[in-house]
């Protein structure tokens, strides 16, 4: 049981100051910009909620948001089941376990722009391994700089390559925490493989899976560098996800007001969905 102690605030003070400096001041800057118009020279004019109204009606924003939700949705429905399947097929003990763990964690340790560059090299139509194989061995016409479908498939496969291991590692940690006796009891009862999965393995993985889904949601929703390096948002605007569009407006066109309004809406959506996950997680904690 935790004891009540208001002096604990002194322990969290350094964290509070550091994170507040990094989070509150920039956030106030964003709020400030979001209600003003600037023509440079530090001249600002009050705009009220104009940027928000424009943005909510803007087709460009709707399109980017739509692409972002589609991307995140595809990532979740591919990576989560795939990650569980791979975790279940991994060896539980023996000399191969550390080998598997290290290889699987490796993609997550590679700088994000290197991931993009690596996949760029890998998918070049005539000289990349995957591009050459598809075009010249399988005879499928593949060029992600020209074809929208190919570009989408490529960024999805890249993300699956990059982050499925997160789901694998977390599910695996849940699986190895199941005592051997559970499996023996299931065997005596004559339970099918599916029943073992449904009633023993899945409940044990539930907590770690919630965290995996939460992290995959946040990171795929905020993704910027990898698709930016790989496709540059193209062909056309077909892979311009929300962050890419935002950086284009803020740093490319220097439209501070609209970019700030977009930042706030973007953050609000991430926060809202994450809060839903968080409540679901803590609700389960209370029950169990």
């Amino acid at each position: 049981m935790k004891t009540e102690n208001q002096k604990a605030w002194f322990f969290v003070l350094p964290v509070l100051i550091l994170v507040a400096f990094n989070a509150l001041i920039p956030m106030m800057t964003v709020v400030n910009y979001s209600v003003q118009e600037t023509f440079g020279d530090n001249l600002f004019f009050w705009e009220g909620l104009t940027w928000f109204e424009n943005l909510l009606r803007s087709e460009r924003f709707h399109a980017a948001l739509g692409r972002q939700f589609l991307f995140t949705f595809l990532i979740l429905i591919i990576e989560v089941p795939l990650g569980i399947a791979i975790a279940m097929s991994m060896p539980r003990k023996g000399i191969w376990v550390p080998f598997c763990l290290v290889i699987m964690a490796l993609p997550m340790l590679i700088p994000w722009n290197v991931v993009g560059a690596m996949w760029n090299i890998f998918t070049l139509p005539d000289i990349g391994l995957m591009g050459y194989f598809l075009n010249h061995v399988l005879g499928i016409s593949y060029d992600m700089t020209q074809n929208v479908f190919a570009a989408w498939v490529t960024i999805i496969i890249m993300d699956v390559w990059h982050w499925t291991s997160l789901v694998v590692l977390l599910s695996y940690a849940g699986l190895v925490s199941i005592p051997e006796a559970y499996y023996q009891a299931a065997k005596i009862d004559g339970a099918s493989n599916f029943a073992v999965f449904r009633f023993i393995q899945l409940p044990k993985m539930k907590n770690v899976l919630t965290i995996a889904i939460l992290l995959r949601f946040i990171d795929s929703f905020n993704i910027y560098t990898e698709p930016f390096v790989l496709t540059g948002g193209g062909p056309g605007n077909s892979t311009t996800l929300l962050s890419i569009d935002l950086v284009k407006i803020a740093l490319g066109q220097f439209d501070l007001g609209p970019a700030a309004a977009m930042s706030l809406i973007y953050f609000a959506i991430t926060l809202l969905v994450s809060w839903l996950f968080y409540t679901l997680m803590t609700k389960d904690d209370v029950r169990s």
């Binding site: 969290v12 350094p14 994000w112 890998f122 005539d126 849940g174 950086v247 740093l251 953050f267 926060l271």
Partner: protein, 265 residues
């Protein structure tokens, strides 16, 4: 059993293929890369690596990255340790709200902060310093370190603290000489995650630097676009960025999952 290993092996091959291609390309001269497809380097060359190790704009990129990543890891773990202790041992006014607020900073898209960070760190005179990037990365690393450490600390029985006080230990002495060594696995995992997320991040690192503290990731994008299609060089630089990660991962291999689960497996 056979079918199971096939799934694992297929996945590992899938993970290794793009990495193999990057490494293979780093040993090829540029005209071989552009000349046509070859599965293995036909003319094996170390020229690409030689460029990186002899040109200061290249190798300083690595040094800069390592400096700010190390600084960030030290700062994040140092401030997170007492905070995590407070969250795991005490109830205090606003603790849950504060914890959730910390959590929200892990959710903020880096793109949202790019421009305000540029202005903030320019205003306080830290623009283009290693400290600026190290401090900016604490935005997502401090909350992460707090959760991970809090998870590990929750597993340490409170009796440990009480016994130490009975034995006449002061709090600072207990914390440094007994408590922190007890959760050193957790400290290692938290440090690993701070290292990882600071090492892989590019957007903020690029925005907050121009010359003096430019990270390797930014050096790569600039050189790649200005020098045209120097794929071999790009591949060599990319290969070298994998090595630090591969080294640190080996040390925490058994704790990675626990870290991702914020210590709550």
């Amino acid at each position: 059993m056979q079918k199971r290993s096939i799934v694992t092996i297929t996945y590992i091959v899938f993970l290794l293929l793009p990495i193999y291609w990057l490494v293979a390309m780093s040993f090829k001269p540029t005209n071989e890369i552009l000349g046509g497809f070859s599965l293995f380097p036909q003319t094996f060359t170390l020229a690409n690596y030689k460029v990186i190790f002899t040109d200061p704009t290249w190798y300083w990129g690595y040094i800069n990255s390592i400096i700010y990543v190390t600084l960030n890891t030290l700062i994040s773990v140092a401030v997170a340790l007492p905070a995590a202790y407070a969250f795991s041992r005490y109830r205090f006014l606003g603790d849950k709200q504060l914890f959730f607020w910390l959590l929200t900073n892990r959710m903020a898209p880096a793109a949202v902060f790019a421009l305000p960070f540029f202005q903030l760190y320019s205003a306080v005179g830290l623009f283009d310093t290693h400290l600026a990037v190290a401090l900016a990365h604490t935005l997502f690393n401090v909350p992460l370190a707090v959760w991970i450490l809090e998870g590990f600390m929750g597993g340490v029985p409170k009796e440990l603290d009480e016994t130490a006080y009975v034995d006449g230990y002061s709090f600072p002495r207990f914390f440094v000489t007994i408590f922190v060594p007890t959760i050193k696995a957790g400290v290692g995992v938290a440090a690993f995650f701070c290292f990882m997320f600071s090492w892989v991040e590019l957007l903020l690192g690029k925005t907050l630097t121009s010359v003096a503290a430019k990270p390797i990731a930014a050096t790569m994008t600039k050189t790649a676009s200005s020098a045209g299609y120097e794929l071999g060089l790009l591949a060599a630089a990319g290969t070298l960025t994998i090595i630090p990660g591969a080294i640190v991962i080996y040390f925490v291999r058994n704790y990675i999952a626990k870290g991702f689960a914020m210590g709550r497996v």
